[in-house]
């Protein structure tokens, strides 16, 4: 139904806007061509309430990040960000609330 993708590239932009935050990154394709990918994710109000600010992501602009997301069905270089791993190894991931039980194990 949905296509989950994983990309590694350079974070170029973080827009803290409603109704979804947006990040942009440059990704080198297998053919060596640089592609400009865009991802949106949950609303700023959601990130704020789980303790993430724009600065937490923006500090990685110009550095390499790894992103997992669901690609837009129209096939464009666009998707919904589900997980990002920052240069310092910090991982931020959108998960089901039921995952709380798993984390507690």
């Amino acid at each position: 139904m949905t296509k989950r993708i994983t990309l590694t590239g350079t974070l170029t932009q973080v827009d803290w806007i409603n109704p979804h935050i947006k990040v942009a990154m440059e990704v080198k394709s297998e053919a060596g061509k640089v592609e400009n990918w865009g991802f949106e994710s949950n609303p700023p109000a959601w990130f704020r309430r789980v303790g993430v600010s724009r600065a937490d992501l923006a500090k990685a602009i110009g550095q390499t990040v790894k992103v997992e997301g669901v690609r837009a069905k129209d096939g464009s270089l666009y998707g919904y960000l589900q997980k990002i791993i920052l240069p310092d190894g910090t991982s931020l991931e959108l998960v089901s609330p039921n995952a709380a039980a798993e984390v507690g194990k």
Binding site: T2, W16, I17, N18, P19, H20, E40, N42, P43, P44, A45, W46, F47, R48, R49, V50, G51, V52, V70, R71, A72, K73, D74, S76, Y78, G79, Y80, G89, T90, S91, L92, E93, L94, V95, S96, P97, A99, A100, V103
Partner: protein, 272 residues
């Protein structure tokens, strides 16, 4: 002036009767915080009550995993009866000729819902306020919303509605106290907003009554929607309980919806 005086006298005359008919929370009325004029004090910052994605954040730093979840209880209707609440039903009752329209709007919400494209939710869809400042003759509501951060200045001095107010999303509001319940009467709406996310359209005749009262340390909020043009009867929604909050209000970032053309289906969720 004369009209206002008659209205005010009428309200004063009715107050004892209304109070007697209301199942107000007398049991806890002695313990709630009150203002100098004796009314319950609704002032304060209240929990965020706008719909947010029902997911949690899993954060992993140096192998240490933490899960940050949201408390969206202020968004959820209370299904059981709570003290002070009016009888309610889960859904409104549309006239038969409009029921298909409601379903069609819901089925195509990513194309038909103004809120999807950063539009104002209006009253009552925006829900309870994030902050209340209660003054002797008016009460001020502040909101945080994806579309912006509206406010409402609501007179409580007995005045009537403005004559012929321009239609608006948040309407023309006047309020009065019925016992320990603040009752806000709202009219003068645009006819393009929805009063609920499920395609609940309305006409320009919509009349909304919001009720707010203290439920212990919490705020209780309940809405009645009247629209004789499209509903078979007034709809009183399930109440909500909103907890106090220490989270200060913050300016909402600008809203720019850009992925509408990427949607391959018509509902809001699961579109990708």
């Amino acid at each position: 002036m004369k009209v206002r005086l008659v209205w005010a006298v009428g309200v004063l005359a009715l107050l004892p009767l209304i109070g007697a008919a209301q199942p107000t929370s007398k049991l806890s009325s002695n313990s709630i915080k009150r203002t100098a004029d004796g009314h319950p004090d609704l002032s304060g910052i209240w929990q965020f009550a706008i719909d947010l994605p029902p997911v949690a954040l899993k954060k992993e730093v140096n192998g240490k995993v933490a899960l940050n979840t949201l408390d969206q209880s202020a968004r959820q209707p209370v299904r059981e009866t709570i003290s002070g609440a009016l009888p309610f039903t889960a859904t409104p009752s549309y006239k038969p000729e409009f029921q298909e329209k409601v379903k069609d709007l819901l089925d195509h919400e990513s194309k038909t819902d103004e809120v999807f494209y950063c539009g104002k939710p209006g009253v009552p869809r925006i829900g309870p306020p994030r902050k209340i400042v209660q003054l002797p003759n008016e009460i001020i509501f502040f909101y945080e919303d994806i579309s912006g951060d509206p406010y409402r200045i609501i007179p409580t001095d007995g005045r009537a509605h403005r004559k012929s107010p321009n239609p608006s999303y948040y309407g023309d509001s006047v309020a009065r106290w019925e016992g320990d319940t603040l009752v806000i009467d709202v009219t003068g709406f645009v006819d393009s907003s929805w009063f609920g996310e499920e395609g609940y359209f309305h006409s320009d005749a919509m009349h909304v009554i919001e009720r707010l009262w203290r439920s212990g340390e919490n705020l209780a909020y309940q809405v009645t929607v009247e629209d004789p043009k499209v509903l078979t009867a007034p709809w009183t929604e399930p109440p909500r309980i909103i907890k106090p909050s220490n989270d200060p209000l913050e300016e909402s970032p600008r809203c720019v919806e850009t992925d509408g053309n990427k949607l391959t289906n018509l509902d809001h969720h699961g579109q990708r």
